[in-house]
Symmetry: C2
Subunit: 419 residues, 2 copies
């Protein structure tokens, strides 16, 4: 066994031990830890910025590209946001310990389910050091222990943030090992983390598709993840034109880089003439390249021809595939064929079309008259989000605190026996 | 690619296609299929018994042991039970389509979750052919497609049952491929089934620990499973002696072979003299071998010494490990150290001991004043059970129809956009 493997297993054992204490920690104690972290973050702002400056300097020397350098850099503003985030998570309701679904059986025994923490959560992320605080806060609040493995280039920042988190845990009388930052940049650490099923209950990867696809290949621990957000908006024959315009424009242009951004627009043939010319023009002028099917290009001459490749692609940029369909059936079939199961929307005033779309489209979120860019835990009212899942099992769609918990059955009786 | 692999992938594609039709099938249609299966089972009883007789004959010639031959044999009684089971599943409420957790966001959009089928479910089981009908019924009722792979020795019986199931599906206008029986005994078929993540969403293995451990090693598709049911009953200082006796005796002797059978009894030191002599005697006379710690053996001279091996073992037979503990803390620590996370129980009249035990013991089911042998979906009121899970993610504890479904988010708006 390599040294890295040994030290990861030791980390895992510590996490498992700490998770037992976390499981029974009260809300008050967990909130005190979160607020102590916020205070420590404020106090250690200068030391943190100094550690981050070293990371940024090394990364620049290594030729890291500007966008990544930007993500790596901690500013006063980003530190303020982490501080605010900790206070917000402290204010969220604690999902742990709630009891639901009580029923009384014919023999008088009472059957219920209690919400409990998952146990140990591994978070694997890329350059943004603020994930260290955000993920630690959510894991802590939901009663879990966490093992955090950030990007190589952010190591000094993450270690400094880890100290702040552990200070907060200790201040509230909780075990420091409830949140551990992996302090090696060796790739083998990740390989061990995603396979040590004895010590880790779930992995939440946060990063690009390349990272997540690689982890999905290697992992034995279940992942809460999505690979692609190839999201669709379908404008139905019975769409109200103003709503269709607003929803589709917003779905594409709110932010190109979010996983809920629309990547393919489907338009009912009978709605196309009324809606496409103005919508196409607006997107075109906004700098969005349109790639259309034959019928689309008859109406939007500036659109380039779309291929199957386009129907399959999550652009995450100012490109949109557009296809005119004969109706709802073809729209649903297109989505079944090409979607990544993330988020899809219909624009329609027709109740049965809306209901059919919402029932038959098999994605983690299905909207009526709303842009797909609403795919976000805060927007759904979850209070926080650790990620978005296109898994079918366990958490599906935006994952908040509840997705980091599980249920156990609790039965109460008076000595009944089974005959 | 081998022929087996190709034919399993084709089966998987058929299942995926059929699952789309199943997803939107109404309760009425699914119930008609279940009742048509029940009718077909009655009509084809003789043909089924003939196919089964051939399986039994081959198995006997191959020297299959008596207990397995017994499981393999379909009697009039077991066919009646399958028939009755189909009618019972038809009568269960359909979990699909129910909408919960509706909230209205500040911008007026309405957020809810709809219960939907998981998709395609693989069932891998051993000699009992009745699993073919039971599993098909539960997968069908919950709107899923199923791929059923039974034991080698039951192939003819399972193929005959598969025809009955497909007859029922067709009679109700549902695709026959919604339930497919794997008609090869080649081991490679299982290897493909548990790794074809594109076509199968979850595997439910039903069989011995050896089968399940092997599948867990190989699988890329998630399993709903448990390996061990190393279940504990703890008799607290404040236990009512009659309840303690009844609960512990029933937990061990209801049936030795069920996964909820008690395997280790923990007794508070101060309760031991009042309870252990009579309970030990009753178990001893019932033919249960007791293996005790030092303090137990001082009180029960006929108990043999227990080792760590005993604390770790699921006997599934007339053996019980017994340990006297200093109190609740030691009982909880023993369970944390040795339990398989299946089902544990405390016997006590003390409210705070009951609550601590139920909160702190991290198993899929935790009881107060009930024997662990109640671990069963029917007893919990689930109406049916596909298995028991000690997974932490998705379904935990007895898994009924709801465990074969998932949730999707459905959002409804009037053209709101994200700013």
């Amino acid at each position: 066994m390599s040294t890295i493997e040994e030290s990861m297993l030791a980390l895992g054992e510590n996490a498992r031990r700490a998770s037992r204490a976390m499981m029974t920690a009260g809300s008050g104690q967990k909130n005190r830890a979160l607020l102590a972290m916020a205070d420590a973050l404020a106090e250690q702002r200068d030391a943190l910025k100094a550690a981050n400056a070293q990371d940024v300097e090394s990364a620049r020397a290594d030729g890291l590209e500007a966008a990544l350098l930007d993500r790596l850099t901690l500013t006063d503003r980003s530190i303020d946001l982490m501080h605010e985030g900790l206070r917000q998570v402290a204010a969220l309701p604690d999902p742990v310990g709630s009891v639901t679904a009580t029923s009384v059986r014919p023999n008088g025994m009472r059957v219920a389910q209690m919400r409990v923490p998952l146990g140990v959560i591994g978070i694997i992320y890329e350059s943004r050091p603020n994930v260290t605080i955000d993920a630690a806060a959510l894991c802590l609040k939901s009663g879990n222990a966490a093992i955090l493995r950030g990007g190589r280039e952010a190591l000094r920042s993450n270690v400094a943030l880890g100290r702040i988190v552990q200070h907060g845990l200790r201040a509230a009388g909780l075990p420091a090992e409830a949140v551990q930052v992996v302090d090696t940049t060796d790739r083998a650490a990740v390989g061990t983390l995603v396979t040590m099923t004895e010590h880790v209950d779930v992995i939440v990867p946060r990063g690009g598709k390349g990272l997540i696809a690689r982890l999905a290949q290697e992992a034995r621990v279940p992942l809460i993840k999505h690979l692609d957000g190839n999201c669709h908006v379908y404008i139905d024959r019975d769409a109200e034109p103003e709503k269709a315009h607003a929803v589709a424009f917003n779905a594409k242009t709110y932010r190109y880089g979010v996983c809920g951004a629309m990547e393919t627009l489907l338009v009912h043939e009978q709605a196309a003439d009324g809606i496409l010319p103005r919508l196409g023009q607006a997107l075109h002028e906004h700098g969005v390249q349109l790639r259309g099917c034959e019928r689309t290009r008859q109406r939007l001459p500036y659109a380039v021809p779309a291929t199957d490749e386009d129907w399959a692609t999550e652009y995450l940029g100012p490109i949109l595939a557009v296809r005119i369909v004969d109706g709802l059936d073809e729209a649903i079939a297109h989505i079944a064929r090409w979607s990544s199961g993330h988020t899809e929307a219909i624009v329609t005033e027709n109740l049965s079309a809306a209901q059919r779309f919402q029932r038959e489209v098999d994605s983690s979120s299905v909207y009526v008259n709303l842009p797909t860019c609403f795919a976000d835990g805060f927007e759904y009212g979850l209070g926080a989000e650790i990620g978005i899942s296109t898994n079918r099992l366990h958490a599906r769609g935006p994952v908040g605190l509840e997705g980091l918990t599980t249920l156990k059955w609790i039965l109460n009786g008076e000595g009944q026996t089974r005959g």
